[in-house]
Symmetry: C2
Subunit: 204 residues, 2 copies
DNA sequence: CCTATATGTTACTGATCGGTACCAAATCAA
DNA sequence: TTGATTTGGTACCGATCAGTAACATATAGG
């Protein structure tokens, strides 16, 4: 199974051997949080979807907020795996890596079933600035942006920091745009826009 | 009072003559919805902040959802006024209009007190695709994007549709990025990025 | 003045929220 | 088999949710 670009939830991967309760809870919570929103989903609904009960949930997670943080931590981890996958697949070819990233990001942003980036969504939903999830979100986003900047630099592109910022914001915008307008919108031109911007940073 | 770029709430404009209840409710709701999130704010809290009570609230709005929709409709209206203001201020100078828009958008995205675009945030919070607010959001965003495209075309820039998409997504991204990473992030370079992208569409 | 309308107040509904106490059943290690 | 740990089930807690009924008080217009 090749890693996905992620920051959507997906997967469920019907297990041959039944998953332990903690795993089932995280899987169910991920699906519900992503599709319906964090505040819209109660712990009762999560426990039921996980085929267990609230007591078991609270034996594994000290609070709903902690469960939310873990949900986001998992997604951030998957995203890291995708970067690793790209590097392993196309070593010493940063231009190709950037192309693969752009394509994967575009597919993610234009998934009609998708609801954008779970971490960005969480930042919108959880306004309390001391929420345990906020650290996870900020660290993830900074890491994404920095990784992209390194890639742009390695690819020998002009003004790599600025280019990375442009691509980063473009993607963030595309994923939130898909939720407000829908995929029949600027976000469906994301890949083309990214290519054009990359081209404009190509050293002539 | 010059119109603001808006899609944040702000205002409060301590009225000399006391506002009627409906207005007070909308003002209070706007402030709370924007700062804390729609789902995080109960109708009781809104009524109290408006200096009235729940009954009066429900005499003016048939449900919380209807109040939310009206909250967003107002913001969309203010945004339209800003476009009108720009046109009136710099008629027959689309390049200047674009510059003013970019600058205002940049200030909006980088307001450290800001929480991004209220309409985009609502789209994230309200996953139900039949929510009465969704029409308002989609129409607003489409209108914004189209208005921007017209401006780029009038300004005689290259590939105006694509440029508008780029600027649109860049702004959407900047406003959501400010919430996840904070204003010390790519979003604080928004204006510079916008200028660079516009320049790259300048007919040589 | 009187009457109609708008607003305020209180109390309530039934549902759901996050979180817990308690005990029984299942599982697992020795 | 024994004994410890993990899980399931149920019932509960107090708080809050969106929304309403009933009644008292204003405020207006004639």
């Amino acid at each position: 199974m090749t890693p996905r670009f992620s920051t959507q939830t997906a997967e469920a991967d019907a297990a041959p051997v039944p998953m332990p309760p903690r795993e089932r809870i995280l899987t169910a919570a991920s699906d519900l949080f992503y599709r319906q929103g964090i505040r819209a989903v109660g712990v009762d609904a999560i426990a039921e979807a996980a085929g267990t009960n609230k007591m078991t949930l609270y034996r594994h997670f000290e609070s709903k907020d902690a469960l939310v943080a873990e949900y986001l931590r998992r997604l951030s981890g998957k995203s890291q795996k995708f970067w690793g996958y790209i590097e392993r697949e196309y070593p010493d070819n940063p231009r190709k890596q950037l192309g693969v990233w752009l394509e994967a990001a575009g597919q993610d942003a234009n998934d009609p079933q998708g609801r954008g980036c779970a971490l960005a969504n969480a930042a919108v939903e959880l306004a309390e600035k001391d929420h345990p999830a906020r650290r996870v979100i900020e660290e993830h986003k900074r890491a994404q942006r920095d990784r992209l900047a390194k890639l742009c630099a390695d690819a020998g592109l002009d003004q790599p920091e600025m280019l990375a910022d442009e691509l980063f914001l473009l993607l963030e915008g595309a994923r939130v745009c898909a939720q407000s307008i829908g995929t029949d919108s600027p976000c469906c031109r994301f890949v083309r826009m990214g290519e054009a911007i990359i081209a404009s940073h190509d050293k002539k």
